[in-house]
C-alpha cells in the first residue's frame, strides 16, 4: 500500500508537470517570450516541489510513526504491569503483533489481546494517516507551485537550485559512505590495538601469525599477531605479478600504439581489454586447477619439489589479470604523445625504435608510472586468486615455490571462519586498514604523477 502511495505521488507530480507547463503558456496567452522561464521549467518546478514534499512526508510519517507507536505501546504495557522487565515487554509486544496479524504467539493472555487490539487500531490509523497526509502534502505543494506561475516567476532559477541540491545529496551519499567505512576501520583497529595492550610493534614486526590460536577470554595473544609473513607474502606475489604484467603490458601497448596496423589495433585492443572483464574467481580457479599443477609437474621433471599451492602460480595469474590495466593505460598515454614529437624525431633521421625508446617512452613515462602504480594497488588488494592459489598458512619464506599467504587471504579466513565475530573482527579490520592505507598511498602517488604529466602538454 505504501509502495502504491509512492507511485501515486509520482503520478500526481507528473500531472502537475503537464498542468504547470500548459498553465504557464495560458498565463501569457500563448506568447511564451513574455515568460521569465520557459514553460518546461514551470512544469519541472511543480513536479519537483510536489514529488519532494510528498515523498518526504511519506518517509517521515512512515518511519517516525512506527517508532512513536512502538514507544507508546511499550509504555502502555509497562504501565499495565510496572514490574515487567523491558525485554519481557518487547516479547509481549511482538506476541501482540503476531496476534494482530493472525500469527502464532507464545501466549495469549488478556494483556496481550488488549495490546493486539491497540496494535491493529494504531497500525491502521498510522497506515491510512501516512497515505492521506502524504497525498495531501503532494497536492498542496503542487497547487502552491501552480498558483505561483506568472510571467516573472523565476521557475528556472528555483528548479535549477533544487536539482543542484539533489545532485549534491547524491554526491554526499558516496562521500559519507567512504567516511563511514574509514571510521569503522579506524575504530576497530583501535579496539584491536587496545586488545593487545598497544603493542603495535608486535603487529607490525612480529613474525608469527596465528591470531585465533591464543585467544583467552576474548583477549588475543600479542605474540601471535605478527603480520610480517602476510606483508611478505603480499609483497612477493605483487612483485611476481608486476614482473609478468609490466613487460607484457608495456610492450603490447608499444606494439598497439606504434606498430600495429589500424585493423589489428581495432580487434586486438578490445580483446586485451576483455581480459579485464573476466571475473577474478575465474582467474583463481585457472591458477589453482591449471597453472599450479603444471608448475608442480614441470618442477618435478627437473627435480624440484614445489608446493601445489605456490606464490609463483598465484603471482603469474595475477600478473595476467593486471596486463590489460597496464597495457590499456599505457597505450592511452603513448597515444597522447603528440605526433609532432615523433615527426621531429623521424625528421632528424631517427629510426622507429630510436624514436620510441628515446622520445615517446620518456615523454609517456609519468603516465606509465601511474599505470604501474595502479596495477600494484590492484595486485595488493586482489583476493580471489590468492585465496584459491596461494595457500593459507602464514609461512615466512623467500622461496616463491612455496605456499605463502597474503593480507587479503587472512581477512577472508578470519571473517568466514567460525570464530566469534567480535574476536575475529579485530585482526581482520586492522589488516583491512593497513591494506587501505597502502592502496590509498599508491593511488595518491599515481594521481600526483598523472597531474604532473598533464601539465606538460596542455
Amino acid at each position: 500500500m505504501l509502495t502504491l502511495t509512492f507511485f501515486a505521488i509520482l503520478a500526481l507530480a507528473l500531472a502537475f508537470f503537464v498542468i504547470g507547463r500548459s498553465r504557464a503558456v495560458a498565463v501569457v496567452h500563448g506568447d511564451v517570450r513574455l515568460l521569465h522561464s520557459r514553460p518546461n521549467f514551470h512544469g519541472i518546478l511543480a513536479l519537483l516541489l510536489s514529488a519532494i514534499c510528498g515523498i518526504a512526508v511519506l518517509l517521515l510519517l512512515g518511519t517516525m510513526g512506527a517508532v512513536w507507536i512502538e514507544t507508546h505501546l511499550l509504555s502502555a504495557i509497562l504501565s499495565a504491569q510496572p514490574d515487567m522487565s523491558p525485554i519481557e515487554a518487547e516479547l509481549v509486544l511482538s506476541d501482540a503483533r503476531a496476534l494482530a496479524s493472525g500469527g502464532i504467539a507464545s501466549k495469549s493472555d488478556p494483556l496481550r489481546l488488549e495490546i493486539a487490539q491497540q496494535v491493529a487500531r494504531l497500525g491502521a490509523l498510522h497506515h491510512w494517516g501516512t497515505v492521506i497526509v502524504s497525498l495531501v502534502a503532494t497536492l498542496v505543494a503542487g497547487l502552491w507551485a501552480l498558483g505561483k506561475i506568472s510571467s516573472d516567476w523565476r521557475a528556472r532559477n528555483r528548479s535549477e537550485t533544487i536539482i543542484r541540491r539533489i545532485l549534491m545529496l547524491t554526491a554526499a551519499i558516496a562521500v559519507l559512505t567512504t567516511v563511514g567505512i574509514v571510521l569503522s576501520l579506524i575504530f576497530e583497529t583501535i579496539n584491536f590495538f587496545n586488545n593487545i595492550d598497544w603493542q603495535v610493534h608486535k603487529f607490525l614486526f612480529g613474525t608469527t601469525w596465528s591470531p585465533l590460536s591464543g585467544v583467552q577470554a576474548g583477549k588475543l595473544d600479542p605474540d601471535k599477531v605478527g603480520a610480517v609473513p602476510l606483508f611478505a607474502g603480499t609483497l612477493m606475489i605483487t612483485v611476481i605479478a608486476m614482473l609478468v604484467a609490466v613487460p607484457v603490458g608495456l610492450f603490447s601497448a608499444v606494439y598497439l600504439s606504434d606498430f600495429a596496423s589500424p585493423r589489428v589495433r581495432a580487434w586486438a585492443k578490445p580483446m586485451l581489454e576483455l581480459l579485464a572483464g573476466i571475473p577474478t574467481v575465474v582467474y583463481g580457479f585457472f591458477a589453482a586447477i591449471t597453472l599450479a599443477p603444471f608448475i608442480r609437474n614441470s618442477g618435478e621433471a627437473i627435480g624440484l619439489t614445489i608446493a601445489s599451492e605456490s606464490a609463483l602460480a598465484a603471482g603469474i595469474v595475477m600478473g595476467i589479470m593486471i596486463i590489460p590495466f597496464i597495457s590499456s593505460l599505457s597505450d592511452d598515454v603513448i597515444n597522447a604523445v603528440p605526433q609532432s614529437l615523433r615527426d621531429g624525431s623521424y625528421g632528424l633521421g631517427a629510426t622507429k625504435a630510436e624514436t620510441i625508446r628515446q622520445v615517446v617512452l620518456p615523454a609517456a613515462l609519468p603516465g606509465i608510472v601511474s599505470a604501474v602504480l595502479l596495477g600494484v594497488s590492484r595486485a595488493v588488494g586482489e583476493t580471489m586468486i590468492v585465496v584459491m592459489a596461494a595457500g593459507q598458512g602464514a609461512n615466512l619464506t623467500a622461496n616463491p615455490l612455496e605456499a605463502v599467504t597474503t593480507v587479503t587471504v587472512q581477512i577472508v579466513m578470519l571473517i568466514t571462519g567460525d570464530t566469534e565475530a567480535s574476536t575475529a573482527a579485530g585482526p581482520a579490520f586492522t589488516l583491512g586498514f593497513t591494506l587501505f592505507c597502502v592502496t590509498l598511498l599508491m593511488n595518491i602517488a599515481a594521481q600526483r604523477v598523472v597531474r604532473k604529466y598533464r601539465e606538460l602538454y596542455d
Binding site: L348, V359, L456
Partner: protein, 267 residues
Amino acid sequence: MLDTTQTLLTERTMSKDIKISAKGVDVFYGDTHAIKNVDLEIENKAVTAFIGPSGCGKSTFLRCINRMNDTIDICRVTGDILLEGQDIYAKSVDPVQLRARVGMVFQKPNPFPKSIYDNVAYGPTIHGLAKNKAELDEIVEQSLRRAAIWDEVKDRLHQPGTGLSGGQQQRLCIGRAIATAPEVLLMDEPCSALDPIATAQVEELIDDLRQNYTVVIVTHSMQQAARVSQKTAFFHLGNVVEYGDTNKIFTNPEDSRTESYITGRIG
C-alpha cells in the same frame, strides 16, 4: 639508354648546381590526387620558397623531399626526386639515412621533453657524429650558435627545452636539425606559430643558413617569401604554376593565377 639519360640528367644538374631535381612527381592520399606531375629543380645553397593557397600541396611536396610521407600509410608517391643525381625513392636508399642529409623543421615548435642540450645532442648521438663528450659539446654549441640562440640558452643548457618561449623553441628546433649536419633543410611554415619579433629572428637566421645549406621553405606569408628566398615556386591545386627567381615572380609574374594570388585575389 636509361643509363645515358641518367648520366645526362646528373651532368645537367651538376652543371647548373642543382641540389634537388623532381621529375613528374605525383602524390596520392588515398583517392585524392594531391600533387600532379610536378617538375622542379632546387638550387644548391639558396633559399627556395613554396607559396600557394591552403591545400595546394606545397607542404605535401616538401614532405616528399625527405620521405616524411612514408610515415603516412595511405600516402603514395610516384615519379623521381633526385638528390645530387641520386633517386631518393630508389630501393637502395634508406629513408632514415636520407633524413639525416635532409633535415626538417616543422610548423609548430616541437622540442622533445628533454633538456635543451639533449634536444640538440639527440641527432648527433643516434648518428654517431661525436666520438666523445667533448666533441658532442662542440657540436651542440656550434649548432646553437648557428641557430642564433646560444647566447640565450648557454647558461641553462640542462633545463627542459619545453620551458623556452615559442620563438626560442623554434630556433632550438632549427639548431636541432642543423646538429645532424644536413645538406638540405626543409622548413614547413616555420614562423606560423610565432609572434612578429620571433619571426624576424627566424627569418634573419634563414638568411644566414643559406651560406651553408640548401633551404626549402613553405610559407603562407608572401612578404616572408619575398624577404628570405631567391627562388619561388607557386603551387595551385597540386600543380606548380610558376617557378623562377623570387624578384621576377613578385614583380612580373607570367601566369595570371600567380598574379591573382600575389595581389590577393585568390587564396
